[in-house]
Symmetry: C2
Subunit: 449 residues, 2 copies
């Protein structure tokens, strides 16, 4: 069963969960002064409308008409009941998913990319620079910039650039310029290359390169694909649509599940439901699923930490493994981030959401079963949600309850087939993190709040 | 604008255009006796239900319930108005497309794969063997076999096997066994490898290997992804859905366009509209688009030719370039076949459909424009349709007419990014075929009908 919405049923406003949070998130701090950052600190990088959204406490923020028009290319996304998966599991649970892989980038990232490109265009920006690791965010921003006539420049972690040439190609198809990072285009890159000419790069280095380029030119801005409040805000179109779709079939989820990398995927589907609960509406359980090899929510500490590994960004209040934490090799590249967004972190601290860490073999098994039954090859990130859905369905059956489960199928895995190949050939393994190393890495987090 | 259908609006019957053709297609001939082949000749390879469909003259053939259930995984497919493409072209034409890339294989091939797997399962078959070139058909059949608990074995042209490892991976993800062809598993393969151990293979060799394996075991059958009447029949769900969708918006196409490789893509979207016209209903123009480097419809001869390059299959009545025609390197692998299905060929001969051959650079330019405006990266095959759509829209504007154009966006290009990469880097070129070589190659076609 697929539940569609018409274009005129698309949400007209984003939902801002801050309005309904009893404990508001703590403010980000300036990396040097350790004082709360103000709009003027962020203005060289972001347009004022996004800075306003970052600190807004309004419950609803209107989605501009041109953004809604661009969303209509691929939204509303379908709400699908995974009947063949249910049958394969032999469960009496009802399993639904929102499918975000139909977007131009093949993932949910397009939802915020379009909004960010629009607000930048409105303020006269000519070019947006960003970093990308696995490539989904860079693809999304490339497409979004093409919609509003903006230039797009992407620093892509060299390891990915070399391993995933097709991700580079699709960004170029949408008109972006893509550089492997470290590059010789920035001071950061030149310094890194002089230390190690064969450096495979890191997201931290790529962020620093993008920020450096953006800061040099008034008409050039920077954009981030997760973590920040305004990014999570834009993703709430997913959950808002899902609420309308459930209303159409007179149903409502008991459990909402999504993977968590920086937090925008999870926030996108879960926050409208969590908000409903915070306002006294129907109770749900919202579960963020992280990889056992990058377990900030379940094994990290809550405190102030840098958003990047180099320590250039403001200090953010979050559950973190420490900004120099290096997760072991993991094919769900989007889940390798060391911290969780301030909003998700505060909600977890207040026990309004749950978190669970899963090993990757279980996740790939779940993804294969999903592909065979539902006909969509999920991104490895999405497999984490699917594995948890299967656990929840079994738990419901064992408890003799009939639960309705919703998860975010955040993207397809068409560019991740080398990961599936490795899994099928038995080359992947689970990871056990060392407690001592975790402590060492977390020592970088400022926990005296 | 997207027009959806509910599951209960899905077609319940396939449409068989043979019923409405004044000149019925000529029968296939036995390769040795040159007499029409009978059901007994085909029974070792195909289930009887498919053989019946191959010769049926009934206008409508019921789609079995389990096939419709499997279709519901990804069907009905949306009918989309390409408003942003229209705007970019500045045309007053209305451009619509059916998007078949949302299927589990990423192309329309799944429509016949599911039906073929079902009928084989019904007759007690345990395994289906097939060949695949670019990989779309092998992917579709792998998925379909997984739905009905059949084994699937795929002989993949070694050139593609080596160049497109992800296509192999996705077939394995759906549970298929994939061999590079030529292999050492068949007499055909062993003979080829003894001649040339480094052979890159061909579709002809891969077909021979698959047929050889299928013929050895009663419980093993063979399946083909295009050309045959029953394959075209199954694809008519595309056009039948489109008719219902146009009815919903009180519209109807003036022109229907699709790429033509073997013919099932084109037939799928066009035959229901052509049939309507044959029965005295609304007139449309149906245009098959082929690559200029494999121009069987526009430069081939009409006669009897083998379906494979080795000459093992029955002789089929078709427009052909000769069964040993070797097209120059072309990234639209699905359009490299030397002949066109008997049904499409007869309709073209009777001037009920049109054909046009386009060069690949124009097609890639059209595909890039489509990706940037509509957010879907098309398969290179689909780019041929898009390029022709753009020509039609411009022609309509020049003629001062407002035309409604429908085309089949038969698949996404997520596994074809090396082709886009080559195009963006200026490595692709157009091809001019030599008239003498075409004549030489076409000499293999038996034209005395």
């Amino acid at each position: 069963m697929k539940v569609y919405l018409n274009k005129d049923e698309m949400p007209t406003h984003y939902y801002n969960i801050v309005a309904d949070m009893l404990n508001k998130p703590l403010p980000p701090l300036h990396p040097q002064t350790k004082q709360p950052v103000g709009p003027q600190d962020l203005a060289p990088l972001f347009p004022m409308e996004l800075i306003k959204q970052e600190v807004s406490r309004d419950p609803y923020i209107e989605i501009p008409e041109p953004v809604r028009e661009a969303y209509a290319i691929y939204r509303p996304s379908p709400l699908v009941r995974a009947e063949r998966l249910e049958k394969a599991l032999g469960t009496s649970a009802k399993i639904f998913y929102k499918y975000e892989g139909g977007s131009p980038s093949g993932s949910h990232k397009t939802n915020t990319a379009i909004a960010q490109a629009y607000y930048n265009k409105q303020e006269g920006v000519k070019k947006i620079v960003t970093e990308t690791g696995a490539g989904q965010w860079g693809t999304a921003l490339s497409f979004a910039c093409a919609q509003f006539g903006l230039e797009c420049e992407v620093f892509m972690v060299r390891g990915s650039y070399d391993q995933k040439p097709y991700r580079k190609s699709i960004m170029e198809t949408f008109g972006a310029r893509v550089h492997p990072s470290p590059s010789n285009l920035t001071q950061t890159g030149i310094a890194k290359l002089s230390q190690d000419p064969d450096s495979l790069g890191s997201l931290g280095i790529a962020i620093s390169e993008a920020v450096e380029v953006a800061a040099q030119d008034e008409k050039t801005h920077y954009a981030l694909g997760s973590v920040l409040n305004h990014v999570l805000l834009h993703q709430t179109v997913i959950g808002l649509e899902a609420q309308k779709q459930f209303e159409k079939i007179n149903s409502y989820p008991d459990v909402v599940i999504a993977p968590l990398g920086g937090g925008s995927n999870f926030a996108g589907i879960a926050f409208p439901f969590v908000g409903e609960m915070l306002r006294g509406g129907r109770k749900i359980r919202a579960i963020a699923v992280e990889p056992a090899s990058c377990p900030k929510l379940t094994r990290g500490v809550f405190g102030y930490d840098f958003g990047d590994s180099a320590g250039f960004t403001p200090l953010l209040p979050m559950y973190s493994l420490g900004h120099d934490f290096m997760p072991p090799g993991l094919h769900a590249g989007g889940l390798r981030y060391h911290g969780a967004s301030a909003l998700c972190s505060q909600l977890l601290k207040d026990e309004l959401i749950e978190a669970v860490a899963l090993q990757q073999l279980e996740c790939f098994r779940a993804g294969l079963l999903f592909a065979k039954t539902e006909g969509i090859l999920p991104a490895p990130e999405a497999n984490h949600a699917i594995a948890q859905v299967i656990r929840e369905a079994k738990a419901a059956d064992e408890a003799g309850e009939q639960r309705t489960i919703l998860f975010n199928l955040c993207g397809h895995g068409h560019f991740d087939l080398s990961a599936y190949d490795d899994f099928i050939q038995g080359k992947l393994q689970d990871h056990q993190l060392d407690e001592e190393q975790l402590k060492l890495s977390a020592a970088g987090v400022l926990t005296e709040l």
